[in-house]
Subunit: 507 residues, 2 copies
């Protein structure tokens, strides 16, 4: 780069207050700062520059000295004057992008990585995981999906595998509306939006309704993914303790004092406690919610998985103030890899969620939307549900029986009527995180109770999932758990005496 | 509800300064406000309450009067005193949830709904859409996917259809790393994350790097979905005009003056202009970017779709400061319904994006991840690409030829070397939105130029997609377009004289 050209047109003003050398230095400084003259460039010799600009050599010498003093140039003896290269002076390596420093801060709660870990390590090869809420892969109805691909692909309108509306594949929305009406939920296709998993519904609702500082009411314990979602949005959580009677008075107190934006509930076979809110309490809850214009997000992944009587109608089915948004999913009843969930709600909410979803992924996967639609339309769901209910019932019975027999001294529980989980309370003041540490070594894992609380409660509780493994594996798993209990007691890691009379089982 | 019980324990203090009737009224008022006494409840008759609390009847009468005066109770003649029901008084209908008022404001830009509309109405039955950037459904390699389902499902590890790591199905990440290395991009699986479409990459980068007010540099015109994504995040857009030479000096000026957080680019067969940044300009750009630690998001949906020479290496392949995040997708080369895209970048960026993605959808659809992996691994991609390149080349040639012949008086364009689009400039001062209005009536649609500009420019430009339809349909489409031109001129909707000498074609 011949820098002389750059400087040739420079006009200095001998009449200005500022001395000529300073005018010149400032001009060069500006060009360096604006990157018009690059670091490393050799400047013209003082004599040459002086004749170029028609000024005295003293002026150019003083200008270069001034620039050197300010750190913009360097004189190399016998070589000349060069524009400084701050990078070269920092070391030989050019620094790359400091990636981690560019990110918007991410607030990790003590248990915020648990969900991801559970998802990342669902089924260790040697270890038995009763952790993740994962349906048994051996029960996935893949043969049906395979034969749908074989028999129906030719009839497919190929454009349905192009871009489709954000709200979802229309035939699936229609089929789901029928499915929901059969469950007493009064909706049409325009009330239904397809989601890339129910998790996405939590995300979109959070994005469209909550701002930092808003209050959200949740049960405690509840689904870890919901806790994290709300906390990540900067919401404050108000908790309703798990008890036999839904704590309406406490909820009303919250409504009056804090004006929460949302109540998040899993009314049927809750995760993790397995409990069901009885119908009359649902009605009372809805009356209260209607009076306070409280928006309820009803998360319902488990209601089809009942092992005795069918559960009461959903909140959405009883909703007479149009305040309930209902989340459903096929992850637990078919398989998670479909990533197909849905939300049923007021059309203006659906519309707003769709505007948001467009940014997130344009629309959900249509290949699986098409497959799920065919699966439902051709009437495969009820047979499949009958099969998995029968199988999971056996597993629940086995886990309940064996856990009672082998670990009954160490924990108490209430057998769940449906869903995936046995929620246990440790009776001997044992810490479930410490127990997990021991259990992992024995090749058995579970989710410690703390994961399900927005606070730091729950260290004497734990969740066992009975859906993932068959009875043989469940029995082996409980044996390993029993072994872990006896080891933890031998090592003296169990810190309290038996105080079972004062420890309340989760009922 | 027997309210007497509620009031029975009430203690009034005859020695207090406050008269007894006021003490009583205030007590009842608090209970009403706290919803301990519900609207509509009948209060005890004055005489009964007086004897219950052991006060005079005057006290209870005055208390009720005071409450009625303050609006908390109503006296119904011959019936008694009732707690007021503000809802009942508002009208007979109980108001529902005012849904639209609960949502966080959504700022719709003039063209923000275009993408959604295009997606929602991709292929009208009678109308010919040259709008959406949709590959031709007839070219989707569905037979291959069908046979993969048939032949490979038995070999599938079923757990791979359960929950998997947020970053994606590991074999697909590995296969993509090989694919990228073959394109000169030096990555391993840990640099690669699977996305639910490339759109999701835009979303996640935006979420993790931008806060409202940040500057982002984009080309102008550019992909509408990117413009919307950044604007929705509250970012300010700095635009680089489309010209033969990439405007490095302007970019540097932006870098110095505004310190933008991100440069978003489609360097190869840009949407909408079809242009390619030559290799030496890519290298210059990367030098500048490295010097300023500028993060570049390279969006590359089209580089495999070249119809003459293969395009130059991607920016990511030339990136020596690890500052480029590379977005890829199978939507244009296979089909959109796969919703499978990916990002290749520094591992700490991948990790941060995964933390964010977990909230959005846990992980992308594994059924299609598994299918795409098999499709790639079994070497189907190169044959498929050869086929679509050949077909799309014919269509480009046809659209170029016919448009030149039938509409050459009305628009100019530069034939693209790859991608999906013919980017046209109207030569007669015609408005492309007005033209679209006319064209739609003739059964032909396109995207008006304004959609691709963050500002309100572009009303004399339009984009035609030649990928969706075969040559016969393209010819018919251009005929309809030509008809629309002549109609618009007849109706006098064309507002200027021929000023083609002063209108620059897009080159």
């Amino acid at each position: 780069m011949d820098i002389s050209k750059y400087l040739a047109g420079t006009k200095l003003n001998p009449l200005a207050k500022e001395p000529l050398y300073l005018q010149l230095a400032n001009l060069i400084e500006v060009k360096i700062k604006n990157h018009e003259i690059q670091p490393g460039t050799k400047l013209p010799p003082e004599r040459e520059l002086a004749s170029l600009l028609d000024v005295s050599r003293t002026t150019t010498i003083n200008a270069y000295r001034h620039l050197e003093h300010r750190g913009f140039v360097k004189t190399r003896v016998g070589s000349g004057t060069y524009v400084s290269d701050p990078l070269a002076e920092m070391g030989s390596e050019r620094p790359g992008i400091p990636w981690p420093q560019l990110f918007i801060p991410y607030n990790q709660s003590p248990f915020s990585s648990i969900l991801r870990e559970l998802v990342a390590n669902p089924l260790g090869l040697e270890s038995i995981s009763l952790g993740t809420g994962m349906p048994d892969p051996k029960l996935y109805p893949l043969k049906i999906f395979q034969s749908l691909m074989e028999s129906e692909l030719n009839a497919l309108n190929l454009a349905d595998l192009g871009y489709i509306p954000t709200e979802g594949y229309t035939p699936l929305r229609q089929t789901l509306a029928v499915y929901l009406r059969n469950k007493g939920i009064n909706v049409t296709a325009e009330n239904v939006m397809i989601l890339s998993g129910a998790q996405q519904g939590l995300y979109l609702i959070t994005k469209t309704i909550l701002v930092p500082g808003d209050y959200v009411v949740v049960e405690s314990p509840t689904y870890i993914g919901a806790i994290q979602q709300f906390q990540n949005a900067g919401a404050r959580l108000l908790t309703l303790p798990c008890s036999e009677h839904f704590p309406l008075a406490l909820l009303e107190d919250y409504l009056i004092r804090y004006r929460p934006k949302l109540l998040y509930l899993i009314p049927t076979f809750k995760n993790p406690s397995g409990r069901v809110i009885p119908e009359h309490q649902r009605r009372e809850l809805l009356q209260l919610a209607a009076r306070h214009r409280l928006v309820i997000l009803e998360d319902d992944p488990y209601s089809e998985l009942y092992y005795q009587d069918a559960p009461p109608p959903s909140l959405k089915a009883l909703d007479n103030y149009d305040g309930v948004a209902y989340l459903g999913t096929f992850s637990k009843i078919l398989f998670p890899g479909l990533r197909t969930g849905f939300i049923a709600a007021n059309p203006s909410l659906i519309n707003r969620l769709a505007l948001e979803k467009q940014y997130v992924d344009l629309h959900s996967n249509n290949l699986t939307q098409w497959l799920v639609q065919l699966f439902l339309e051709q009437g495969n769901l009820s047979d499949h549900l009958a099969m998995v209910r029968k199988e999971y019932k056996k597993r629940r019975d086995t886990l309940v029986r064996v856990t009672q027999r082998l670990c009954g001294d160490n924990l108490t529980f209430l057998p769940p009527q449906g869903g995936f989980y046995l929620w246990c309370r440790l009776t001997k003041n044992t810490s479930s995180t410490k127990l997990l540490h021991e259990a992992t070594k024995n090749g058995i894992s579970f989710v410690p109770g703390q994961a399900f609380y927005p606070t730091l409660e729950g260290d004497q509780e734990l969740r066992l999932c009975f859906a993932t493994h068959d009875e043989t594996v469940l029995i082996e798993g409980v044996k390993r758990l029993a072994k872990s209990f006896s080891q933890i007691h031998k090592k003296g890691k169990y810190t309290g005496s038996a105080i079972s009379s004062s420890v309340h089982p989760i009922i």
